[in-house]
């Protein structure tokens, strides 16, 4: 079982800023009061976007039945998009009693025969981990038989949170893929994009700009990713972590093993996108590249400002209340500010200390950081005269009652809000929300209640 990562080590991440204090986010969930996904979901998020690999879930029906085809992670892979396919051994009582190993072996054979993927990821789940199916051995034997990577992913749901699962997904890629193949060629500006999953094509908002600058995306984990690319990821000059703290363990280990430095950034909103592009250029340390990036950023920003002008006029003086969690507490706030909104409050109940700090920085001294948004937001809408509530579906009624516009921040996005272009999509959606009469119409009292 040598390939199994040590969970304790992963939880004790020295590259984590908050490591000196008690790790709130890493604690065990509270029975009867837990929210959020499990480790399997996290692993799925971090690895499923490889569309040229088959993702075989070794478990009963809930794990895959609820979750396949749920994430719109775009790919340009010309073959069959295996991300949008579901493969599961759908273990039965018989397998639980007599082991599911034979079924798993046959399932891998079946996939190889019918779909010929570039790799197969085999995900352990609670039940198959508990009955002790030896997926390491099965994967090793299958890899030898078919001469492609067959990667065991040890992120059964019960080992922890979604965040931990993403780390475990990263570990699996590091152990079984990274460094197993040399790239066809190298450039001085080769980077890996880590934690960019290209949901709704977010990555494609800025990857053409990288191309233009001559920065080559050598590999990604895992948006629009290719197995052969991630196998060569050890030759990159820089790891760029995109909005994913869960993968700092991976990049730290890549720095230790291959000497690849890393930077962490986000491509949401104008300021972050510009900062991100410049940070990559600076980290690559080439003066000419930096100059060209500055010029490109200036060009893109001025183009964006021009495109945004009518929206900004419309949004000017409008106030927004934001109720979400994690890095969205500040990244969406910053994007709203870029559009001309005043963000009067943001919820920080479900944010790490680091995120809370950034939220304070983004909103300034006057902004309210809501610790109990369910109660506070209605009051704040009244006090500040907010025009827009951005929150999850549960808060819809609050907006209706207050007669203000509502935008669902958790709704499955159909289009990208990333990069410069995404800001225009966001602006258009928010303008539509503010102009939509539905919230006031729905709030009408029934004739028999007058």
């Amino acid at each position: 079982m040598a390939s199994k990562p040590k969970i304790k080590e992963l939880l004790d991440e020295s590259a984590c800023e908050h490591n000196k204090k008690k790790k709130v986010a890493c604690n065990a969930p509270t029975p009867g009061a837990a929210t959020g996904g499990c480790a399997f979901e996290g692993a799925q998020i971090s690895l499923f976007p490889y569309a040229d690999a088959a993702h075989l879930v070794h478990g009963p029906m809930t794990c895959l039945g609820t979750s396949w085809e749920t994430r719109a992670t775009g790919t340009s892979w010309p073959g069959r998009d295996l991300t949008q396919m579901g493969f599961t051994t759908d273990v039965s009582l018989n397998d639980v009693v007599f082991s599911g190993e034979e079924k798993l072996v046959k399932a891998i054979d079946y996939i190889m025969e019918h779909y010929a993927p570039e790799a197969v990821f085999v995900y352990a789940t609670c039940v198959t981990a508990l009955i002790g199916d030896d997926i390491d051995l099965i994967c090793k034997q299958a890899a030898e038989k078919f001469d492609i990577p067959i990667v065991p992913v040890h992120a059964a749901g019960f080992v922890g949170s979604k965040n931990l699962g993403s780390r475990l997904g990263g570990e699996a890629a590091l152990t079984h893929l990274v460094g197993t193949k040399e790239p066809d060629q190298s450039t001085p500006f080769d980077i890996n994009l880590i934690g960019e999953y290209n949901v709704t094509g977010d990555m494609w908002q800025y990857s053409p700009l990288l191309d233009e600058l001559g920065i080559r995306v050598l590999s990604t984990l895992s948006g629009d990713g290719r197995i052969s690319d991630i196998r060569s990821a050890h030759r990159a000059k820089l790891n760029v972590i995109v909005c994913a703290k869960s993968l700092v363990s991976l990049t730290r280990k890549m720095e230790e093993r291959y000497g690849i430095p890393s930077i962490s950034l986000s491509f949401y909103g104008k300021r972050d996108t510009s900062k991100g592009l410049l940070a990559i250029a600076e980290a690559l340390g080439d003066d000419d590249l930096i100059k060209r990036t500055q010029a490109l950023v200036a060009r893109e920003e001025s183009q964006l400002e021009e495109d945004l002008a009518p929206y900004k006029t419309f949004f000017n003086g409008k106030k927004a209340v934001l109720n979400t969690g994690g890095n969205k507490t500040w990244s969406i706030a910053a994007a709203l500010q870029d559009l001309g909104f005043e963000v009067v409050a943001t919820a920080v109940k479900k944010a790490t200390e680091d995120d809370r700090g950034k939220a304070r920085q983004t909103l300034g001294e006057k902004g309210v950081l809501m610790m109990n948004p369910g109660v506070e937001q209605a009051k704040l809408i009244d006090e500040t005269g907010a025009d827009l509530l951005l929150a999850g579906g549960r808060s819809l009624y609050t907006a209706i009652k207050k007669g203000i516009a509502f935008a669902d921040v958790n709704q499955e996005k159909k289009k990208s809000y990333g990069g410069y272009g995404g800001l225009l999509n966001l602006a258009e959606d928010l303008k539509n929300a503010l102009q939509n009469p539905v919230f006031k119409n729905v709030a009408r009292r029934a004739p028999w209640e007058k």
């Binding site: 029975p31 837990a34 579901g86 019960f158």
Partner: protein, 430 residues
């Protein structure tokens, strides 16, 4: 009818539309008013299930998890995590019932949930629903049975005006409501269990969805033994009817394989007339029957020219295939998620237990697909018509109000199927 294959032959599911038992159990508990479904297992099962139903119904979904972790999985027999869960749930909300249902994880290690729940001083119903057995339909049915067995009080006398409706899992909220109203038209008080018609019908309320908001009340469930009649819809629900009759031997039972199409609805009317001694149904029922007759004739041309693939849960599969068949729609392949007694009765050339890869491989045999959201990519890739039915439908809004049952809903299904089919057959100018 045609050829029936009860057994899945592959070592895996490829593009599955099968759903798990715990998910069916969750949904059933959401048909009980002010209930908190508590899924005993890893937190992911609950999180996935919550998102799944939230997207299908466009409504917040109440559910909690016992959040079993690896250490707890090994050391605890459920005592700690279940007791803690109930403590933490009741700290914040006051449910009328906690619906404790298991997943594969605690079942693998053999937690005695019934025993643990009996030690807790809070109204609970427990049901064993490992996801390595059965499926969506059986999870719902088992939960309904558990509600009956654990809550209904025995009764010696029955009230002939009260009728219990036991709907199968694939009936959408409006369909349950339509069946209730139909039967009420004959003078009965109807209680459905579970009852999604008032909980997940998509109504705007002052809710935070901390608990299910609507459905049959726990008190109503307790008193179900007083009903004179029980009607089960779908073969999966027969066991529930038997459980109810155990509580109340005087209760009469009528079983319906489904309530879709002309023939099945005619039989329901016959039964209701016989039970009430009435000679004619309400005027609106007669009117809807005429409309369905007309709809069958209007749609038969298009339906008759096209071959269908239907992929659904067994009870739902039988229902849709029958509706299409009555108006001349030929079901070339019916794919069921799991084995069932329904399979032999299904009106199709070929009936199999399978997945959507099976559907893909048989592409040459059909023109229109009837199935869930996962059929969309398939229909797109193979250029087939698509009628979206079943769980989940993440592509469209309004799922809770889609009605295919009885005379009225039969019209809507036939029109949609016929229109979908004929839009594929338009003459293309070359």
């Amino acid at each position: 009818m045609g050829e029936v294959n009860h057994k899945k032959e592959k070592p895996l599911q490829v593009n599955p539309f099968k759903l798990s038992q715990p998910m069916g159990a969750t949904l059933a508990f959401l048909g009980v008013d002010k209930c908190m479904p508590l899924m005993h297992g890893g937190q992911g099962c609950t999180s996935f299930t919550k998102v799944f139903f939230t997207r299908h119904f466009c409504e917040p979904i109440a559910i909690q998890t016992s959040a079993v972790t690896d250490a707890i999985a090994v050391l605890d027999g459920g005592d700690y995590s279940i007791v803690e869960s109930v403590k933490n749930i009741t700290k914040k909300v006051t449910p009328s019932l906690i619906g404790l249902h298991t997943t594969g994880l605690p079942e693998t290690k053999g937690d005695d949930v019934r025993g643990v729940a009996s030690q807790i001083a809070f109204p609970m119903v427990t049901v064993n629903t490992p996801d390595y057995e059965g499926g969506f339909e059986s999870g719902w049915a088992k939960t309904c049975k558990a509600l009956i067995e654990q809550l209904v009080e025995t009764s010696e006398v029955v009230d002939d005006n009260t009728l219990v409706l036991l709907p199968h899992v694939s009936l959408q909220p409006i369909e349950v409501e339509k069946i209730k109203e139909f039967i009420e038209g004959f003078g009965f008080n109807v209680l459905a269990v579970p009852d999604l018609s008032s909980s997940l019908d998509g109504h705007l309320g002052e809710k935070q969805a901390a608990l299910s908001s609507g459905g049959i009340s726990v008190d109503e469930i307790r008193s179900l033994g007083e009903a004179g009649l029980v009607i089960s819809v779908g073969d999966s629900m027969q066991g529930c009817a038997a459980a109810l009759q155990n509580k109340s031997p005087e209760m009469r039972h009528h079983h319906f394989v489904h309530l879709n199409g002309l023939v099945a609805t005619d039989r329901l009317v016959e039964v209701l007339l016989e039970e009430t001694g009435l000679t004619r149904p309400p005027i609106s029922v007669a009117r809807w029957r005429q409309r369905l007759q007309d709809a069958m004739l209007d749609s038969h041309f298009s339906l008759g020219q096209n071959r269908f693939l239907v992929a659904a849960e067994p009870d739902h599969l039988a229902a849709i295939c029958q509706s299409l068949h009555e108006a001349g729609g030929r079901v070339a392949i019916a794919i069921s998620t799991v084995d069932s007694s329904q399979l032999e009765k299904i009106k199709a050339d070929k009936v199999i237990v399978g997945d959507l890869e099976d559907a893909e491989l048989a592409a040459a045999e059909y023109d229109v697909i009837v199935g869930n959201f996962h059929c969309e990519a398939l229909a797109h890739r193979l250029h087939k018509g698509l009628v979206l039915r079943g769980f989940p439908n993440w592509e469209q809004v309004g799922n809770a109000l889609k009605n295919d049952v009885l005379y009225e809903g039969g019209c809507y299904l036939l029109f949609e199927a016929a229109n979908t089919a004929s839009s594929r057959n338009e003459v293309k100018h070359v």
